[in-house]
């Protein structure tokens, strides 16, 4: 569509560095920009973020647009929606990428409504159609039963959110330089129509689930909170993290932040061990990208076995102590 050019990626930072999700967005953004022969730009929103611009270039951005305002120091849905929509109106990209995380999920539909454009959330693949030069937007639907490809022909920018851990991270090129452009957006405190009272972080012992190389996940088959002690023990000896299907979270056996799947976290460890989990798609879509999947279930017909590399038909209470012992034996020899 005339007047809209380039790929714009909304990039989040933490402690002055581009987040891993940000690097994934710049990774796919670069591929799309190159396919179009256009620029890859990053949009940074916050307060005192000038310094972060350089880090973004090293991940492949050609230009960085900054919206800096003390009101944006902390995320607020109303203020971020306005900042991002207004910046987008000034930049007029052909493609606009946001992450499907706490922020992107919260604002992308509002930005779409404000700009009166289409939206595809939680895309697992993005590509340019060589004939039409339109963005092919691939996402899962029906709980993972089907996959759809969407295009937005008549409404630009083509706005999508990107599923975390679905795209390869951008490579680093520390020599890359670029232009930093400041964008001004009119904001005042009264635009925030709700008030953030507090943030409560659920303490998780050990490694973060999303970063772990090994994830040991328990399901309803674990039978209760006591059973999770064994799950934790296995995770600990393997240097991994503990996750769960929705059932143990609903039952209150583990915190809801353990939930993996369609409405929970997405994990892509080297090793995913699903224990006492039947294998509902809504769960398995959260671990599909794992390198190796092991399923332990006492029902030989369990569906989880169909999406695993190794199957162990066993009661977990017998299997886990043996797994733990064997691992200790291996590492001590």
């Amino acid at each position: 569509m005339a007047g809209y050019r380039g790929v714009l990626a909304f990039i989040e930072t933490a402690e002055g560095k581009v987040t891993s999700t940000g690097r994934e967005m710049l990774g796919v953004g670069r591929l799309l920009a190159d396919a179009l022969g256009e620029t890859l730009d990053a949009l940074l929103v916050g307060s005192d973020i000038e310094g972060v611009g350089r880090d973004v270039f090293s991940f492949g951005a050609d230009r960085v647009f900054l919206v800096s305002d003390s009101l944006l120091a902390k995320y607020h849905p109303d203020l971020y929606t306005i900042a991002v929509s207004d910046a987008c109106k000034q930049i007029l990209p052909s493609i606009f990428l946001l992450p499907q995380d706490d922020v992107g999920r919260d604002i992308a539909p509002r930005v779409a409504a404000k700009l009166e454009i289409g939206l595809a959330t939680d895309c697992i693949d993005l590509a340019i159609d060589p004939d039409t030069r339109l963005l092919l937007q691939t996402r899962r639907v029906y709980g993972g039963n089907a996959t759809e490809v969407l295009v937005s022909r008549n409404a630009f920018p083509q706005l999508v959110t990107v599923k975390p851990r679905a795209m390869a991270q951008a490579k680093t090129d520390s020599n890359k330089q670029g232009e930093i452009i400041t964008i001004s957006v009119k904001l005042d405190a009264s635009m925030a129509r709700s008030k953030l009272l507090e943030t409560v972080k659920e303490e998780i012992k050990g490694i973060k689930l999303e970063d772990a190389k090994v994830v040991v996940a328990g399901g309803r088959g674990i039978g209760g909170p006591e059973g999770f002690t064994l799950i934790h023990e296995l995770a600990e000896v393997l240097g991994g993290a503990v996750g769960a299907s929705r059932a143990p979270c609903d039952e209150g056996w583990v915190p809801t932040s353990y939930k993996i799947g369609q409405t929970g976290k997405v994990v892509t460890p080297d090793l995913y061990i699903a224990i006492g989990i039947s294998g509902a798609l809504q769960h398995t879509v959260g671990s599909l990208g794992s390198r190796c999947i092991v399923a332990i279930n006492n029902d030989p017909e369990a569906k989880i076995f169909g999406v695993s590399d190794f199957k162990l038909v066993a009661d977990y209470r017998d299997a886990l102590p043996a797994l733990i012992n064997k691992y200790k034996e291996i590492i001590s020899s």
Binding site: P77, D78, D102, R105, D106, P109, R110, A113, K114, I117, G118, L119, T121, Q137, R140, Y142, G143, G144, N145, A146, T147, V149, L150, S152, R153, N154, A155, R193, K195, L196, E198, T199, V200, K201, C249, D250, T256, S257, T263, D270, L271, T284, R291, C292, V294, F305, G306, V307, D309, F310, K311, L312, A314, D315, A319, L320, A322, L323, K326, Y327
Partner: protein, 267 residues
Amino acid sequence: MNIIVCIKQIMDPEIPTGKFKIDPEANRVIPSEGIPPVINPFDAQAIEVALRLKEANGANVTAITVGGQDVEDVVRYAISMGVDEGILVSDEAFKALNSFVTAFILSRAISRIGQYDLILCGRQAADRDAGHVGLMLGEMLNLPIITMAKAVTLSSDKFRVEHVITEGYQVYEVGMPALITISDEIGPPRRPSGWGVIAAAMGKEIPTWSAQDIGVNLSDVDIKSVRSETIRLFIPDSRRKGEVIQGNNVAEASANLMARLRADGII
């Protein structure tokens, strides 16, 4: 207090995988025979929130849905759970119901309802898993929005909302009117009560509003419907080879599994 809950009827998301069929020519899902559609589970949870607020503070709760005539059942289900009123917004012209059209129609229907203090939606509809309509509707009605709530309470005319984030939750305070979307962390919704089922079956007729009734211009709907278009729908293959780990007993098989993972360089 007047609460409006937006609800959608969907294909049962827990349908066995083998029964899930699509028509790849038409890019559509073929409804499975013998598996009745259900209320979107997150919308049942939104009703649960509305009813808890009603019990604690007193409220009139209205459930509203947009769709074909065949979705009246979802409104009856809401009544059987305990909502006070139901509205079906249905018109031949509402064929291609995507997020934008749905939010637009809802915004018009809700404007016709008039006075409201709270609109509740589900975090997403468990068919296309978009998570758009609540936010778009809130934006169209110019309301403050809090998404992904796992608890909603009211005190001195303000809602206190626990908003789920990756690392835990945040507490927001928001005045009336507001739009809040509900996440599954809220917990299981109540089942329809015996009396509720009778009330839903015998109750008054459910008002049906057409495009004209809510002042929706059909050409507006058409323009909005072409912003995003599905050009392909397919069933992905995520099967893995699934090697059975052998052993004379569980302890031996487990040891073999660990040794194998080590040998393959996975751990």
